[in-house]
């Protein structure tokens, strides 16, 4: 924290000394100092989310600073995997599951929040390299489908993921809440739905300036089951037959017990 304050003070000093420095020197100093300051002020909390019995989702608090001329973009990305899904289609007047489509390298969760529309921040090529936005993601994902074009499958996949809250793209959602000492302060909450799968998630922060990505930081957060939820999951996957028998015994005992209790109640 002290180091951070020192850097901030140094940065301010540079601004005060502006008239005495040449433009080029000022720019170089700015380039050297700013990443350190921004990196140290990028805070993601909590780093680990424990899924307990009463867990019902939550938020990840992301705080960061940005010079006024920079445009920040925040990304939450889950682990990428292969997904096999049903494809619906029309047969006569009926809508039916016709075949399967497979998407490879598709993240389970993908949220992107930006200060402006992504097309205003950088050219498509750069966005594709950084995997920013649905268009960029679409280029990076491999699609296997016998009947549909890749673009159609991906667009339907995004619609499907957006309905369940796993994919989200909100342009203009990142706005500073205050400006202090020449820097804009951002405080943003990324919603974490209770349906998000366990695993590692990357939170990436990009700074765009004049159609270039000038800085990039990232943090990892872990979503994990603990206590009772972890115990039940392990039992279901590692001791499946015991788990099945337990589930049946409890159901049978509960069913007959309630039946018996009701019959006693009726007799009275």
């Amino acid at each position: 924290m002290n180091r951070c304050r020192k850097n901030l003070a140094l940065y301010l000093l540079l601004f005060l000394l502006v008239p005495s420095l040449s433009t080029r020197a000022r720019y170089r100093s700015f380039q050297e100092i700013i990443p350190v300051v921004l990196g140290e002020q990028f805070s993601v909390l909590p780093k680990q989310i424990d899924i307990t019995f009463f867990y019902h989702g939550g938020n990840i608090q992301v705080d960061f600073l940005a010079p006024p001329e920079y445009d920040p973009v925040l990304v939450l990305e889950g682990e990428s995997d292969s997904m096999v899904l049903n494809r619906k289609g029309r047969v006569g007047i009926f809508w039916l599951n016709l075949d399967e489509v497979e998407l490879k390298n598709a993240p389970h969760v993908y949220h992107i929040y930006s200060s402006k529309h992504l097309s205003q921040l950088a050219p498509d090529q750069l966005l594709a390299t950084l995997r920013l936005g649905y268009d960029a993601l679409g280029k990076d994902i491999e699609v296997r489908s016998d009947a549909l074009e890749k673009e159609v499958v991906f667009s339907e996949f995004v619609k499907f993921q957006e309905r369940s809250g796993m994919y989200r793209m909100v342009n203009g959602s990142l706005q500073p809440f205050k400006r202090e000492n020449g820097l804009e302060h951002y405080s943003f909450q990324i919603p974490i739905s209770s349906a998000m799968p366990v695993g590692r998630y990357r939170i990436k922060l990009f700074y765009f300036y004049e159609n270039r990505c000038v800085q990039e930081f990232s943090e990892t957060i872990i979503l994990q089951k603990v206590g009772f939820t972890s115990f039940i999951t392990k039992l279901a996957f590692e001791h499946a037959s015991l788990y099945g028998i337990l589930a049946i015994v409890v159901a049978v005992v509960m069913g007959f017990s309630i039946g018996f209790l009701f019959s006693l109640f009726k007799r009275r």
Binding site: I51, T52, F53, F54, Y55, H56, G57, V84, L85, N86, R87, K88, V91, I93, F94, W95, L96, N97, L98, E100, V101, L148, V152, V153, E156, F157, K159, F160, R163, S164, S193, S194, A195, P197, K225, F228, T229, S230, I232, T233, A236, F237, A240, S241, Y243, G244, I245, L246, A247, I248, V250, A251, V252, M254, G255, F256, I258, G259, F262, S263
Partner: protein, 310 residues
Amino acid sequence: MHLSIYLPIAGTSVNVFLLIALGLFVGSLSGLFGVGGGFLLTPLLIAIGIPPTVAAASDSNQIVAATCSGTYAHWKMGHVDIKMGLLLLTGGICGGMLGVEIIKLLRQVGNADFLIKISYVLFLSLIGTFMFQESFRTLHRYRRKRPEKPLREEARFHQFTQKLPLKTAFPRSGTRFSFLLPLILGFLVGILAAIMGLGGGFIMVPILIYILRLPMHMAIGTNLFQEIFLCINVTFMQALINHTVDFVLALILLIGSTLGAQLGAAISNRLKADQLKILLSAIILLVMLNMLRGLLVPPHTLISIKGIHS
């Protein structure tokens, strides 16, 4: 009041009171009509965000409790024919095995989904319409105090069943016919239930009433009895092979469904058989219309999670 809990296998959190209310509603249908309720509960669970495969598997787990509770209530009232139930069950298990193989074959040939859904819609509309017409006619006659005449087709079929060999008595149901009949009917229902992906109560109850000529209340109790074993089998297989049974979800649902089954059985005992038939046929027709809607209305997305027919 908002009390959410996390379901470890479903991987999402839901409101406890909502789950108990769903269980209560479906359990009362189970006690009232002798159907498992999976046809209604699985889509409702999917609608509140439970993954389809987990919804179907956990539903079968809670149906075990609901059917146990309902069977106990009906058994106390003398409405369970265990002998008949065991024969239906034996046929049902064999039919279920064949049904699974037929599904595999249909999937290889292609358009399995189309065949399943169309047969479902046709089957439910036939059963629902027939039951509705028949019970409406009987209630109408009852009001005008006219004697009930059996339909000519029904009488012919009854004559045919009486000609079958290996006759045995079913004292609890007060009937006597070949033990092959419940075996064969159980077998056929087992095939259909496996293909359609449901417990088969919707098909079995009308068959018990119209083909085996069991009294309505006896048909409900006997079907509940045999469904216990079918659902136990499904629950175990789902837990073992797919790991999709959410014990916590099933436990909360069964709190509601076991209570609901008792309430349903008590209401069922106060209603006339034909009133029950009309209600059941109305529900069958509603399910059929809902399925038809799913087939005709364009989906929100052309992609869906694997694991369910719809």
